[in-house]
């Protein structure tokens, strides 16, 4: 099946097998930030944006990306660096393996939720597992980043 997909602003036309998942397809186009951390759709490491919504690229078939716009961390360098600095400052990046998927979901959350409560933040990020941090530092980083974004908007 031939699909046409926009990845980080660039359009690709490719022949894909019906059982290829989006994750492997994206990696074949050099998007190495997209990683597989589990076999059970549970870890969130493979998060990318499809049509602006965060999805698990390990679970979506590449054929379903036909005609869609996909964004990976490679396409959001500026935002990722900005939030990444908060994450590093708070010690929310230890081994760093979970970071790309986590950052992608945080960036999706910032777009979708207005002034989220702690509870809403936790619910939104619940599907991103991290073996190292215990989540407290990640939570601090997210809240400081949200504050920063809000102040920036008010300027």
């Amino acid at each position: 099946m031939i699909i046409t997909v926009k990845i980080n602003g660039k359009t690709y036309k490719d022949e894909v097998a019906p059982d290829t998942v989006l994750l492997d397809y994206l990696r074949s186009h050099g998007c190495y930030s997209v990683k597989r951390g589990c076999e059970t759709s549970n870890c969130g490491l493979c998060t990318v944006h499809m049509d602006s919504k965060p999805v698990l690229s390990c679970s979506v078939l590449a054929v379903r990306a036909d005609g869609q716009e996909i964004t990976t961390l490679e396409g959001l360098q500026k935002e990722a660096e900005e939030f990444g600095a908060f994450l590093a400052d708070e010690g929310g990046e230890q081994c760093g393996f979970c970071s790309p998927g986590f950052i992608m979901n945080v960036l999706a959350m910032v777009k979708e939720l207005k002034n989220p409560t702690d509870e809403e933040i936790k619910k939104y990020l619940e599907g991103n597992l991290c073996r190292c941090t215990g989540y407290q530092s990640q939570m601090r980083a997210v809240k400081k980043y949200l504050d920063f974004k809000q102040k920036e908007e008010q300027k």
Partner: protein, 264 residues
């Protein structure tokens, strides 16, 4: 991960039905469950060209296309207007936002898992499942059926009749539930379902002119607890589930009858 040889994005339900007659062909929902299996599939039948990704409101019902995702339902203003937080409460613990942006209502209804939060929520509302070929069955009846090669097209939920609340209990936040429970009221009758027992939810009803009469309602709950079958699996024992059922029923009742703010 499953293997698939061919892919067919069908242009009609007739075409999908024809392809689905073959046992080795499979309808594709969000693919989240299928990916966990190792099936050898001949042709994947994709319904995504049929416009089944929409939630529509008519005068008397809400129609949810089979490819609508769990997250779409959770965030839909139409669903919120008609059912409040009911579906949010039911779906919010299912894995994570990204997962729920992929998993579909059609795949969930067809799968009718014993642990399903989707079945336990739909079943206490007046819900009908529309299958390809024209047949329409109640959620209750569909959930009891043996698996066959039917195709779920739309989910129809009657509007205005029932107010409902949902509770589940999990060992850890995003795990599948140890037990789940829903309760609906239409002014005359209470409809209760306890699911993930680990078997599917079944509906018990009670004539109930006065929903605030908790003594009568609790007797009904105790009867459900006594008469319902519970089972043991890796997540919990049947004794634990039985005990928990009454706790959850009382919690969900509080949620249903208490006005915002006085739910203590």
């Amino acid at each position: 991960m499953f293997k698939a040889q061919n892919y067919a994005k069908v242009t009609s339900l007739t075409e999908a039905l024809e392809l689905n007659k073959k046992r080795t062909n499979k309808v594709l929902g969000g693919g989240c469950w299928m990916k966990m299996g190792k099936k050898n599939i001949n042709t994947l039948i994709d319904l995504s060209g049929l416009g089944l990704d929409k939630i529509t409101e008519t005068d008397d019902e809400i129609i949810i296309g089979s490819l609508v995702t769990l997250r779409d339902i959770e965030t839909s203003p139409v669903i919120e207007k008609n059912f409040g937080n009911f579906f949010k409460d039911a779906f919010t613990h299912i894995v994570g936002v990204q997962f729920r942006n992929c998993a579909t209502i059609g795949g969930s209804v067809f799968s009718r898992f014993g642990f399903s939060d989707i079945v336990t929520s739909l079943i206490v509302l007046d819900t009908k499942i529309e299958l390809a070929g024209g047949e329409t069955v109640s959620m209750e009846e569909y959930s009891e059926r043996d698996y066959d090669n039917d195709i779920v097209v739309n989910i129809h939920i009657k509007k205005g009749g029932r107010k409902a609340a949902y509770e589940s209990f999990r060992n850890t936040q995003t795990d599948i539930p140890v037990l789940n429970c829903s309760l609906a009221y239409d002014g005359k009758k209470l409809y209760a379902a306890v699911g993930a027992r680990p078997m599917r939810g079944k509906v018990s009803t009670m004539d109930c002119p006065d929903v605030e009469n908790s003594e009568e309602v609790f007797k009904f709950f105790e009867k459900i607890q006594a008469e319902t079958e519970f089972g043991t699996n890796t997540r919990a024992s049947k004794e634990y589930r039985k005990h928990l059922s009454l706790v959850l029923l009382k919690r969900v009742y509080k949620k249903l009858v208490c006005k915002e703010g006085d739910a203590k």
